[in-house]
Symmetry: C2
Subunit: 342 residues, 2 copies
DNA sequence: ATGAAAGCGCTAACAT
DNA sequence: ATGTTAGCGCTTTCAT
């Protein structure tokens, strides 16, 4: 049903020039209503769709927004953080008439190789980068001549625009909650410290202890790197120092913690209270055969994704504006593992 | 560092014509090695990247492959099926030098609206459609003049090319396994019957009973629609008919089943054995506080994603070829809920 | 309000 | 082996 339709042909059929058809399609003012209708009819009848490549070349806009996710293995497999983020980004793209180009990388090699391609002219209007850590080759994307927005406050190029949730305050809230429940020896298992999320959650922990005049003990701070296995090990190292609560910097690590506690026969929350981070554990509702549910800090992941798109579109429109720094609030979700109900 | 570089300028700097530079970039034969090197050097020095829009317009190829996912709410939120699929598709895109354009829809309205846009000329080289059901407006995508490949055997346009796992045999294997363990009154909770996955898994169940001379009882067949809540209800309806095993057409439904059984005080697998489908439940390894693990049929989800890309690329190369029908094997994963270890 | 015409930067057929 | 040239289909001045 399509014999290579072009603007020119639509124009011929409607008895106007190609330029007029273009104006109609792009909603320009100064078109006689009558002409406008006639053109619209022809377009509808013929099922004409403008050629996107030609539009992009002429207008220097593609309507493609990139979402770059480094290192998929860990997170994408493990929990629903990135799926939710993708969902938010996708939705905002749909609503704004843009298209999402998704880049997931497996190795730093692959990152190196594809980074430049991503930034080539006439391809993406802008790029969102999620989950970047210090030293990642993808940091170099900031240096290209193209709008970029980070999800998660960037460490390597602090002047870059970003959307994030308030990691410090989230952690502060979690630990304060444990303190208010009477816990005195609160440990933490930190995330990757080459990411602001890891650093800031650790800082929130420290701040909460300090604000409540509790001592800071290095032995109660263990590195988990956002990995479940490492969190398991870290828990075992922590236990000799008799914590009565553990603040864990992610839910997937919290599962490792719960496993470790179960393995050594400690009860949650009676012996050790646990609070996680993300609200992504499969322990959020009463899954059968699960005997506790995880108290955690919820981040508005999906909203972060949507806001990232909206902010990036602003940057595209006004590239010379100041860096955008958007920090969203988090929420304490009280379930059983903190012992509040107990 | 980029003052609007073009092929022409690179050519000037290297002392050759624009066409020669183009040939170098596209690895054409018949270029003197010396010239080739000189051009490559200039490109490296200047950091030149060809303009993608211009290439697309001239070559009628964009290197963009679409992945269309209807109705995100259910699956994308619930389990890791689509994340895994996306991962596979993404990886194959990376390896083949293509880019993944992801479309996730919330409502049928949205589908209607964006469907035509997806198919517009000069945009995508081809489209992969996952999780389609009978009656979905996205079925119309098949009618456009563009390569399309389904993930999941299509119901509405059976002549379309697709990649799928062997649903019938998978279900057959699951039910045969239960029979071999001595179960006599095996019930099933079916998926959506407007999708081949739902139909074929149901058929596999029926075939297995028949092959083993077990009677087929309508009261032992309940509709779950791939939804956890419906599976919960369906289980309660099934129980008066005293099944000693339930084959559930998806893992996320199986969680609803387990919950229902727990709620009425039945033990798994002692009173009722359960086998799921997908190998995506959070019951695959010993999560702490979970007292059983789910026997299930594993699909090679990631491979399906990769194979989808590879097959689509073939179709793009040879659009007139016969429909591709690729069916991958599944695997029975024995854990505790079927009672094999018990 | 509309048309004519000049590109956008590249590929590919044709010429040499 | 390399250069010349004609598009690819659209947007966007510049006229009128």
């Amino acid at each position: 049903m399509d014999g290579k339709l072009t603007l020119e042909k639509i124009g011929a059929l409607a008895g106007v020039s190609r330029a007029t058809v273009s104006r109609v399609i792009n909603n320009h003012p100064n078109i006689r209503e009558e002409v406008r209708q006639r053109v619209l009819e022809v377009i509808a009848e013929t099922g004409y769709q403008p050629n996107q490549a030609a539009r992009s070349l002429a207008s220097n806009r593609t309507g493609l927004l990139g979402l770059v996710i480094p290192r998929d293995i860990q997170e994408l497999f493990t929990d629903l953080y990135y799926p939710r983020l993708i969902q938010g980004v996708s939705q905002a793209c749909n609503e704004s008439g843009n298209t999402l180009a998704l880049f997931i990388f497996h190795t730093e090699e692959e990152e190196q190789q594809i980074a430049a391609q991503i930034m080539r002219q006439g391809f993406l209007d802008g790029v969102i980068i999620a989950g970047l850590h210090f030293g990642d080759p993808l940091n170099q994307l900031v240096l290209f001549h193209k709008p970029v927005l980070m999800i998660g406050e960037p460490l390597e190029y602090p002047q870059a625009s970003f959307v994030d949730a308030d990691n410090r305050l989230g952690a502060y809230t979690a630990v304060s909650h444990l303190i208010s429940l009477g816990r005195q020896r609160i440990a933490t298992i930190t995330g990757r410290l080459d990411m602001t999320a890891g650093q800031q959650r650790r800082q929130g922990y420290l701040d909460a202890l300090q604000a409540n005049n509790l001592p800071i003990e290095d032995q109660l701070i263990a590195a988990g790197e956002f990995e479940q296995g490492k969190a398991y090990q870290a828990t075992l190292q922590l236990l000799p120092h008799t914590p009565d609560a553990i603040f864990v910097a992610s839910d997937s690590m919290a599962l490792g913690v719960l496993r470790a506690l179960a393995d050594v026969g400690l009860r949650v929350p009676e012996d050790v209270a646990v609070v996680g981070y993300d609200d992504l554990a499969p322990l959020d509702t009463a899954v059968p055969f699960i005997s506790t549910t995880l108290t955690t800090i919820r981040q508005p992941i999906r909203r972060m994704g949507m806001l990232a798109v909206e902010t990036l579109l602003e940057i595209i429109k006004e590239p010379q504006g100041p860096p955008r720094r958007i920090i969203l609030p988090t929420e304490l979700i009280i379930r059983q593992s903190c012992g509040a109900a107990y």
